[in-house]
């Protein structure tokens, strides 16, 4: 017998491996990823009419260039409230589903991050609006980093940033890959060649439909994967 004999209770390597395996199973049973994605997809689609019809458009009739200024008031009034409600619904559903499965939910850090980012985006937009020059100054072309930052603090970017936290919480590599792809679509943005320049009100419509569709497909994909488990 050596001084390093295995203690009673089992091989320490096997005990550790069993421990990791159990922890992994619990984390799998706590995942309700599809719920989060479907709720966010729903909010994204619901926001579209608010953006289209809530947009304030001012076109100068005598301007030969036909330039118009616009203010996306609908985005500002709809998204903060809608996102906070969405995160509350996600938290509620996560807790209920996890409870049905016999485990506690691992969702609060995600919900808190989402809520904090929502407040940050709202405050930023209000500050930017308050400091915009009147009449608006045309930035043509607008620097790429400004557009990127604008998209990052917009609701669609905020959704993706919070999803990164959920992927980390759930140790969910599939969700991480999905979220990175979603962020690429929302921030680059990737419009798959679909643009609508004919009307300023519908200028942002394709990207919102694409963002919502990506979330919807992701939600369906994760739901199917869960059912197959």
């Amino acid at each position: 017998m050596t001084t390093d004999s295995v203690p009673a209770g089992g091989d320490p390597r096997r005990l550790l491996a069993d421990t990791r395996d159990l922890a992994r199973k619990v984390r799998l049973d706590q995942r309700v990823t599809w719920v989060a994605l479907l709720v966010l997809a729903g909010v994204t689609f619901l926001a579209i009419p608010f953006d289209v019809f809530g947009m304030k458009v001012d076109c100068v009739n005598n301007d030969p260039s036909g330039s118009c200024s616009f203010d996306r008031q609908g985005v500002l009034f709809f998204w903060p409230v809608a996102l906070l409600i969405a995160y509350a619904i996600i938290a509620l559903l996560y807790v209920r589903v996890a409870r049905t499965r016999g485990v506690g939910a691992r969702v609060m850090p995600y919900v808190i991050t989402g809520a904090v980012l929502t407040v940050l985006f709202t405050v930023t937009w209000f500050v930017v609006r308050a400091n915009l020059p009147d009449p608006p100054v045309s930035l043509d072309p607008t620097p790429g980093w400004v557009l990127f930052l604008d998209r990052l603090i917009a609701p669609w970017g905020v959704i993706g940033l919070a999803l990164l936290v959920l992927a980390w919480l759930e140790r969910n590599v599939a969700l991480l890959v999905f979220t990175l792809a979603y962020l690429a679509v929302a921030l680059v943005p990737v419009d798959f060649g679909w643009q609508m320049h004919s009307n300023i009100r519908t200028e942002f419509l394709p990207q919102q439909i694409i963002n919502g569709t990506v979330l919807l497909l992701g939600g369906i994909g994760f739901a199917v994967a869960r059912r197959r488990r």
Binding site: T2, T3, D4
Partner: protein, 113 residues
């Protein structure tokens, strides 16, 4: 007579707590830690135990102050939820640390041979 071994040089197996260092009880603590709170039936399924066997292990852990048991009802169905206490959390972390040290020590001994 030999001088007492300093704590830093003590064999890691000496640091193992017999209450925690048992396959089923370690499993209960691990699941309760990951799940935040876990239902009796879930533990029984995951650990493949009978209700009586699981109850015995839970009693040991509860007596040691490592878990809390909360009995309640959902509809007409009785459900027991298990949560880890602060002491349980610390005991689990200690056990995992000791196991890792033990593995490292065994590997070092093998390399020395």
């Amino acid at each position: 007579m030999t001088a007492p071994t300093p704590a830093s040089e003590a064999h890691p197996a000496n640091g193992l707590d017999e209450v925690v260092h048992q396959r089923v009880r370690l499993g209960i603590l691990t699941i309760a830690h990951e799940a935040r709170k876990v239902e009796f039936g879930y533990l029984r399924t995951q650990l493949d135990l009978t209700a009586g066997n699981l109850s015995k292990h839970l009693s040991v852990l509860e007596a040691a102050g490592l878990v809390n048991l909360e009995k309640g009802y959902e509809g007409r169905r009785g459900r027991t939820w298990i949560t880890l206490t602060g002491a349980g959390d610390a005991a689990l972390a200690e056990e995992i640390g000791q196991l890792k040290q033990l593995i490292a020590r065994v590997e070092t001994t093998r390399e020395d041979r």
